[in-house]
């Protein structure tokens, strides 16, 4: 397979390159790269004028739902959704059935991933911290790491017991894997379905106060400092937690954080329609929290953008708000929301955006940096930063369509992804 990518703008933060060039790929490997390459027979030429070529994006927080919840999503449909959204790699969360707390589940996922789109999307399992994600007994982290887990989390639940969290941090550190925490104090948020604030007061819906996230992040940072280990905050949503992470980084601690596109786009006012696609955990917060998150993205406090892609079936979401499950899909709107809300509003440059989607998550997960050079296998995300498009959830490649952004006009969209010798055009 001979692919000639013509006139795209390569932005590669790792090498510092930012230039318009041609790239010739033969069977997925970069054969030639640089000044214009003449088209020859047998080559498929793709015009990429105005498009950006970046190192492959990775979404480090995705729920692929398989094994156990295939009616919501399968590894195949999830990977297709990822590819369509512009990702060449995802980290899948362990709240499957059975949970990813045994190496057999890791192997199952890996084999399914290889069969999906011929292995185009790399699936890196994030295994459970505790057996069954129950928060009581440590999962066999050594075995899981050896099988291929890149990190550990009990997401959608927190590791609630401080002693378990301390021991987990110590243990995982032996294999140089981070613990990723879904920070939520459970008794404080019991019965809660949205952020606690004026909107929840007016709507008569039970609220989850932002401090329930902050107190756990504060505790975990102390534990990480005490044990000298690596800690990552999943889907951070509050001003309080952002400030805690900022201070921790300033003290030189190995603390990192991620944010979802919906948390820098929507406030809890979006819930006033009672649309169950505005129900997620952590919930949509206030304007002040968004302002703090935007600052955090700018000054590096927030390292990563990850979607927390959480597919749910149509029927599951077609119920009264308090009863609906938490979560929305996000793989196919991530680039659009990020360009529209961050790049176009001057919060981040395109270069910085690529760091949040590719360079930083790989660094945190200790995955090798993507090299874009002659002789290397291509691992690329190609996106159009200017195209305007209207979100249509019914057209999503994901099996589930639970998104609040239907009908919204966005700027920026993936054009295609190339990885492991495979190509996917959106």
């Amino acid at each position: 397979m001979k692919l000639l990518l013509k006139g795209g703008r390569l932005i590669d933060p790792a090498s510092g390159r930012d230039e318009v060039l041609d790239m010739l790929l033969i069977d997925g490997r970069i054969e030639k790269m640089g000044k214009p390459i003449p088209t020859a027979t047998g080559m498929e030429a793709i015009e990429l004028k105005g498009k950006i070529i970046a190192p492959g994006f990775i979404d480090m927080h995705v729920h692929l739902r398989e094994p156990g919840f295939e009616y919501k999503e399968t590894i195949l449909t999830g990977c297709t959704s990822a590819a369509a959204g512009g990702f060449t790699a995802v980290c899948c969360m362990p709240n499957t059935n059975p949970a990813i707390d045994d190496e057999s589940v890791v192997r199952f996922i890996q084999s399914k991933a290889k069969a999906a789109l011929n292995g185009l999307v790399d699936v890196h399992p994030v295994a459970a911290v505790t057996k069954g994600r129950k928060g009581e007994h440590l999962a066999p982290m050594a075995e899981l790491a050896e099988a291929g887990a890149v990190a550990f989390t009990d997401d959608g639940d927190p590791v609630h017991d401080a002693e378990i969290m301390r021991r987990a941090l110590e243990y995982a550190a032996m294999f140089n894997k981070p613990i990723i925490q879904h920070a939520q104090d459970l008794p404080m948020t019991k019965g809660g379905v949205m952020n606690e604030g004026l909107a929840s007061t007016e709507l008569g819906l039970a609220g989850m106060p932002s401090i329930a996230e902050d107190v756990m992040v504060a505790r975990d940072i102390s534990l990480a400092e005490y044990t000298g280990t690596q800690y990552h905050v999943a889907h951070m949503s509050t001003a309080g937690a952002t400030e805690l992470v900022r201070k921790a980084k300033a003290r030189g601690l190995r603390v990192s954080s991620e944010v979802t596109p919906h948390h820098f786009t929507l406030t809890d006012d979006a819930v006033r329609t009672f649309d169950t696609n505005t129900k997620m955990n952590p919930p949509l917060r206030t304007r002040e929290d968004i302002e703090s998150i935007l600052k955090g993205l700018q000054d590096g406090t927030i390292d990563v953008i990850a979607t927390d892609h959480a597919p749910h079936s149509y029927d599951e979401k077609q119920v009264e708000f308090p009863v609906a499950p938490f979560g929305i899909v996000g793989l196919e709107t991530a680039i659009g929301l990020s360009v529209t809300e961050l790049v176009n509003k001057g919060i981040l440059s395109v270069n910085q955006l690529i760091e949040k989607f590719s360079v930083n998550p790989r660094r945190i997960l200790h995955l090798p940096t993507i090299k874009i050079a002659e002789g290397e296998m291509a691992n690329l995300t190609i996106f159009d930063p200017l195209v305007e498009w209207v979100v249509d959830p019914t057209a999503f490649k994901s099996r589930s369509k639970n998104s609040p952004f239907g009908g919204v006009k966005l700027r920026g969209r993936s054009v295609g992804v190339i990885n492991n010798g495979q190509v996917y055009w959106s």
Binding site: T201, E202, G204, F274, E320, F321, P322
Partner: protein, 293 residues
């Protein structure tokens, strides 16, 4: 709801009050119309009140009672309602424990939906009948100071009363233990009191809310005894206030918890008038909805 709409409902209810005094308490406007009362939460008085209002307007009534949520029952709310609508029901009156359930329902069925109380969100007909009762006694709503005491955080009666009374130009204050006052409620334009003895001398009317015994004792407040001692409306407390405060209560009353028996039965209490006015208000709402095009 605009001030004009509230005014219309209150005035129309006045005309329906007369019907309730007749020997034959029945008028024909909703003849041949079918109304389904879907009560997913336990309620005797509101259900009776709606049913009475519907029958007095000559409508045919379907009663549906279920104390479980849709999820535990197996059939979703949407399917239950769609099935009932398929039987050519013209209107649905719904009470549900989930805030926002009527909004959701009105999107999935074509029939008119009347909210008889959804979770902690709203209870519009209760607020309307409260306003009617106050207006009946004082001749106006504007400029009055109305207090609401009780578990404000979980009260749909409180929320609807706040919206309604503020729209009509009254001043509202809420009172209760700090753990039962919801966050940022001052932004709705109400004053917050934690000590009932401070509030009582200032108000014309006090709406006393039922305290939910089952739900929150221990976690949100220590005990019934403590609540009664610090917030219970008793004769002594009213005498201390040295002001003839009119007392209202949406019912059902926990005698000697939030209100003492002698106050509930006293000349200051409008509790029974509220009940009668409730039927008239509901007749007005049903009539106006059915005839609006």
């Amino acid at each position: 709801m605009s001030k004009a709409d509230i005014q219309l409902i209150l005035d129309t209810a006045m005309s329906f009050r007369e019907v309730l005094e007749r020997p034959i308490k029945k008028v024909p406007p909703l003849t041949g119309k079918t109304i389904a009362n879907m009560f997913f939460e336990n309620s005797t008085r509101t259900r009776f009140s709606f049913e009475l209002a519907e029958r007095r307007l000559s409508a045919d009534v379907l009663g549906f009672q279920s104390s479980s949520t849709s999820v535990s029952k197996g059939e979703t709310l949407k399917d239950t309602a769609r099935n009932i609508e398929a039987m050519k029901v013209d209107m649905v009156v719904m009470r549900h424990s989930a805030s926002g359930a009527p909004h959701y329902l009105s999107q999935v069925i074509n029939a008119n939906v009347i909210n008889a109380g959804d979770g902690s969100h709203e209870h519009p007909t209760q607020a309307l009948l409260d306003m009617y009762t106050i207006r009946e006694k004082f001749g106006k709503l504007e400029g009055l100071h109305v207090g609401i005491v009780g578990d404000i955080a979980h009260s749909r009666v409180a929320r609807s009363n706040i919206y309604g009374l503020k729209t009509m130009g009254a001043k509202i204050s809420v009172c209760g233990p700090a753990t039962l006052i919801p966050k940022e409620i001052e932004q709705l334009g109400v004053e917050v009191y934690h000590h009932i003895d401070d509030l009582l001398p200032q108000v014309d009317v006090l709406n006393v809310l039922r305290i939910q015994l089952e739900r929150d004792a221990g976690r949100l407040f220590p005990s019934i005894r403590e609540y009664h001692n610090y917030y219970g409306i008793t004769r002594q407390r009213l005498d201390r206030a040295k002001r003839a405060v009119t007392i209202m209560h949406p019912g059902p009353i926990n005698r000697d918890v939030e209100i003492s028996a002698d106050v509930a039965d006293s000349e200051h209490s409008l509790i029974l008038q509220q009940v009668l006015n409730g039927v008239a208000i509901r007749m007005a709402v049903l009539y106006l909805l059915a005839t609006r095009n």
